[in-house]
């Protein structure tokens, strides 16, 4: 589904953000990407739907080359959902309109069809009653659940999560993770940048550990948690699991 091969990314300053990253996410697979901050994990996931450009290598999304200038990027992006750290709901639109906008403007759905879809998804994330409110009237956890529903409204073939719980107050993390677990059990293809190792051990198939722009470890979940091969991954795990 997602194939990343030998991706290198440099910033204008010359700093190399990604170093020869190669990995893949199969259909129905849940892959968790973790690593210390500044390790390039968010950058990598943003390269997948071309929100971040990269200089060399190749990313294939459902067989379509992301970094090909001939690729219709809006069309491609419409097929992968993305959830951001800071939710990024559109503050000037009602919750229902946040969910309908792209359905109508990108997929060309009628208002009725878009609203039906939106209501069903809001029900699924437990927020049907908030449809006529503005994002600012919702809690962080609720906003992030709306953001997940907004992405799902496009009927994506895969979902990308960029630290979906790290901007949330602790008591709101589980309500977002519950939605994500539910989604994973439904067979959604997911690439998730997160520090939530509980989530990883519950539903991930594979865990990728990144450090300094490199993929240091890419292993099945049990192997990763059982005996991480690299020192750096061991250190990282002991740091975040110790408390």
């Amino acid at each position: 589904m997602i194939k990343i091969s030998h991706v290198n990314k440099y910033y204008a300053s010359g700093f190399q953000a990604l170093k020869d990253c190669t990995t893949a996410v199969a259909k129905g697979e849940v892959v968790v990407v973790c690593g210390p901050s500044g390790s390039g994990k968010s950058t990598l996931i943003k390269c997948v739907n071309a929100l971040e450009p990269f200089q060399s290598g190749e990313i294939l999304l459902d067989g379509i080359k992301v970094n090909d200038p001939r690729t219709d990027l809006p069309k491609l992006r419409a097929r992968v959902g993305m959830v951001f750290q800071h939710f990024e709901l559109f503050p000037h639109l009602l919750i229902i309109d946040n969910l309908c906008l792209a359905q109508q403007k990108v997929l060309g759905r009628s208002r009725e069809a878009a609203e039906t879809k939106a209501s069903a998804l809001l029900r699924r994330v437990g927020l049907e009653a908030q449809a006529r409110k503005y994002p600012a009237e919702l809690s962080g956890g609720q906003q992030q659940r709306v953001a997940i529903a907004r992405a799902l409204a496009m009927d994506p073939i895969a979902m990308l999560f960029d630290e979906p719980t790290s901007a949330l107050d602790p008591e709101m993390i589980s309500e977002v993770l519950d939605v994500m677990v539910d989604l994973a059990r439904d067979g959604m293809t997911m690439m998730v940048v997160t520090h939530e190792m509980g989530f990883a051990s519950k539903v991930a198939h594979r865990v990728i550990f990144m450090d300094k722009g490199e993929i240091v470890e890419d292993a099945p979940k049990t192997e990763f948690f059982g005996s991480p091969r690299s020192d750096r991954a061991q250190k990282f795990l002991s740091k975040i699991l110790s408390h």
């Binding site: 739907n49 929100l51 990027l73 809006p74 069309k75 992006r77 419409a78 097929r79 992968v80 959902g81 993305m82 951001f84 800071h86 990024e88 709901l89 559109f90 503050p91 000037h92 906008l101 792209a102 403007k105 990108v106 997929l107 503005y134 600012a136 953001a147 907004r150 992405a151 496009m154």
Partner: protein, 230 residues
């Protein structure tokens, strides 16, 4: 002190001052603000487009307009637009352009430069995550601007845009150089006809003051309301 003044001249000319003069002033203000906002937004988008030559052209335009006195440009346009029109249409003689049209064009071009700076600041005030989220949903660049970025930029900048419009409302009085009967022009006509300069100019000042202060008060109220919403 006011014994020798005749304030009745104001009452007698009220309908001319407001129905003709103020109507003209408000029409010019409204249309110029609208046109300025549209062109100003386009200029702001050009400057932020990331295309170098588009940005340079827009930047030069803004700098040029802001470096010229408005009265001069009003004057120029009044005399130049007929010839530019002739040149554009290939007519055999200068195009007949009314004073209203020529002053409207001038104000739109002038205000576009000011509004573009305001809209640019408004667009830059939107966090980068917003366009990223819109693009991640598959919206094109123009859809992202139209449905996500510009509505928010406009809303954030509304108080500043309205304040600029109040300034514009006062600036429209400069069309007196074309002897157009806007509100000030009408007042000045009556003043000279009846020899009541002090009364009429005092009254004109009072009207501009009252309307501008009321509008500013409205803007401050609006600002407080939108501030709560955020």
């Amino acid at each position: 002190m006011f014994a020798s003044f005749d304030f009745d001249v104001i009452r007698r000319s009220l309908s001319y001052l407001f129905l003709d003069g103020m109507t003209f002033t408000l029409t010019l203000t409204g249309l110029a603000a609208l046109g300025g906002l549209v062109f100003g937004t386009l200029i702001a988008l050009m400057r932020l487009s990331g295309l170098k030559w588009l940005g340079v052209i827009a930047g030069l335009y803004v700098d040029l307009v802001r470096a010229l006195p408005l009265v001069l440009v009003i004057f120029w346009f009044y005399f130049l637009v007929p010839y530019i029109g002739q040149w554009l249409t290939g007519a055999s003689r200068p195009l007949r352009v009314g004073a209203f049209t020529s002053s409207l064009v001038t104000f739109i071009l002038f205000e576009a430069a000011y509004f573009s700076e305001i809209m640019r600041a408004g667009i830059q005030s939107i966090s980068k995550g917003q366009p990223a989220a819109a693009q991640a949903l598959g919206l094109s660049y123009s859809q992202t601007m139209r449905y996500v970025v510009l509505p928010q930029a406009f809303r954030n900048m509304l108080p500043v845009l309205l304040t600029q419009t109040i300034v514009l409302f006062q600036d429209t009085s400069l069309v007196y150089v074309l002897s157009i009967p806007d509100f000030l022009g009408a007042a000045s006509k009556v003043a000279q006809r009846d020899g009541r300069l002090v009364e009429m100019y005092l009254f004109a000042a009072a009207v501009y003051f009252a309307m501008s202060s009321l509008a500013s008060l409205g803007v401050r109220r609006l600002q407080r309301r939108t501030a709560v919403l955020r």
